[in-house]
């Protein structure tokens, strides 16, 4: 049912049938199910969805950094052709940073507050490469320069709290880039930033990707960010993919009623309450993951739900060439 779709290029990351389980007060339940996707070098895949849809859990699982209560209960993660989940602790640590690195949402909590910026970057370099302290320090300055940090030499001696929010996020990106990873996972990298700073960081991320050809997975709730950076998009709802398409296909002709709802709900396309406009809200709320409805998880909120939607979960199928969705609805627009 789920499958990996790529172009002609080999994928650097391939995830198949991933399932993540959480043991909570409600017992064990899946927070992510049937996740399959891949990215190739130079590509940016955006995973978009609202709180609790499983996008951040998916991101953390890709580095095997899930919190204690969560675990991968099924599926496969291939990084550069190698089975990441079969690796032992040491091999996993070697892979992190070297092959796959992460940019977190909140740099103030992700960076070590008691280590100078330069030491944090150099430490990561020394762990992965046989090199002298001096070479590692030089690499730190070099990556800080790559992320256009003003006055990089001086920044290496500063602590995270001495930097502004935008500069801290630059330092995080520098840390992620330090060992030339092939894949970068960015979890809401600009959500904590002001809009003018967000623009700078998005500009930086695109510039770097063009130069370095890294594969990128960007997790976000913001369709504006998606529209700025994505090549391909996965929309998640209640722990599953509901739609996957190229950025243009998705924005031109969204298929899934949830995607359509999300796009209509974002204010800012000229809609104004003074002209009597209303935003297309989606009625109701996301169901709890431990108590999902029997059929399609979106059915209770879906304007077009039929009896079948309430009974059977729709498979994830190709609705148009390269455009996939999990919906019983056929392609009426074609």
């Amino acid at each position: 049912m789920s499958e990996t779709k790529t172009g002609t290029q080999a994928s650097v990351l391939a995830v198949s049938d991933l399932e993540i389980e959480i043991r909570g007060a409600q017992g064990s339940f899946a927070v992510v199910s049937d996740m399959s996707f891949s990215v190739h070098a130079g590509e940016t895949l955006c995973i978009v969805g609202e709180s609790g849809c499983g996008k951040s859990m998916t991101a953390l699982s890709l580095l095997r950094l899930l919190p204690d209560a969560a675990s991968i209960s099924r599926g496969k993660i291939l990084i550069d052709g190698e089975d990441f989940l079969a690796m032992n602790q040491r091999q996993t640590e070697d892979f992190r940073g070297e092959k796959i690195a992460m940019i977190f949402q909140e740099p103030l909590t992700a960076l070590n507050p008691v280590l100078r910026i330069g030491e944090q970057i150099a430490e990561s370099v020394r762990q992965h490469r046989k090199c002298s302290h001096k070479e590692a320090d030089q690499r730190a300055v070099e990556v800080l320069r790559m992320v256009q940090m003003p006055d990089p030499e001086r920044r290496t001696t500063q602590f995270p709290h001495e930097l502004s929010g935008g500069m801290r996020q630059r330092a995080m990106i520098a840390l992620a880039l330090a060992c030339d990873p092939k894949i970068i996972i960015a979890d809401e990298p600009t959500t904590a930033l002001d809009v003018t700073i967000q623009a700078q960081i998005l500009g930086l991320i695109s510039d770097l990707q063009k130069r370095l050809g890294t594969a990128q997975i960007l997790i976000t709730h913001d369709l504006g960010v998606v529209s700025e950076v994505a090549d391909r998009v996965i929309v998640m709802y209640a722990g599953r993919k509901v739609e996957e398409a190229s950025i243009y296909d998705l924005f031109d002709r969204p298929f899934h009623p949830y995607t359509i709802g999300l796009m209509g709900a974002v204010p800012g396309s000229g809609a104004s309450s003074q002209n009597g406009d209303r935003l297309a809200d989606i009625a109701g709320t996301v169901p709890p993951l431990w108590d999902l409805p029997k059929g399609c998880a979106f059915a209770p909120r879906c304007p077009g739900a039929s009896a079948r939607c309430l009974e059977e979960r729709p498979p994830f199928t190709e609705k148009r060439p390269g455009h996939w969705a999990a919906c019983w609805e056929h392609d009426n627009a074609a």
Binding site: E50, A199, S269, D281
Partner: protein, 324 residues
Amino acid sequence: MQPDATPLLSVDNLEVHFPIRAGVLQRQVGAVKAVDGVSFSLNRGETLSLVGESGCGKSTTGLALMGLVKPTGGQVRFDGQEIKGFNRSALKSYRRRMQIVFQDPFSSLNPRQRVKDIIRAPLDVHRIGTRAERDDRVAELMQRVGLRPDQADNFAHQFSGGQRQRIGIARALALNPDVIVCDEPVSALDVSVQAQILNLLSDLQRDLGVSYLSISHDLGVVEFISHRVAVMYLGKIVEIAPKTKIFASPGHPYTELLMRSAPSRDPRKRHSFSATNDDIPSATRKPSGCPFNPRCPLATDICRRDEPALTPRDDGALVACHHR
């Protein structure tokens, strides 16, 4: 509905300065000028949005108008009457007519109170109606904001984020206020739920004629709900203009930067954002002259020396810029 022309609320040169203390004696060594001479007016049935980035003073302005932070200077007139000194007695009657909805529906509702008591609280404080009348009013308010009155005995944690924000709105509406300060009322919510709340706010304005002073950093939200927009930067208003004007042709270079920084809604019209670091200066070390001059492409000597005043332009906008 079209706003009435007589200002309901007028704010003149409002200042909120926080002292910076240092040393053993905690002597004042400086001040954070969070709000530094802000003037605007709000008409009946109108929505004015205060927009800006973190630290620009937009939330402090809202809190100061509610008397939740004491202003250190300036004048506030409500319906022609000056709110003198922001002391208890001056605030009491004023607060009946001016209410606030907070950003975070998780921390702004008392977790130990039932929803009916949260919504009733303003009626109890101001001793309005009999017990039975207050209960009826709570049921009516819950219905009005889209909550089921049979949930009145529940606690706040039993509701989702969007529903909690509805509770906050019901509480703000309890006294039939003329003005509601909305401090980022939807920024903690998911988009689909955010749209429900924005629609509710606009319905309430249409039906009740209430004015909103909306505080927001999200230009999409601002475009949807405002009649007029005031852009703030480092404690000052740099531009005030009708919404359609400010979105079509921003006057101040900072407004322009804000508009340019908002992500595109169309993947075919991507921005080429500059990756260069360009930080907002801190409010403790404000640049001299125009606060925006270190980041401004138009800045010249006069901008570094003299602070521009907010002056009217031909097109109805007020802009504080030497070059525009």
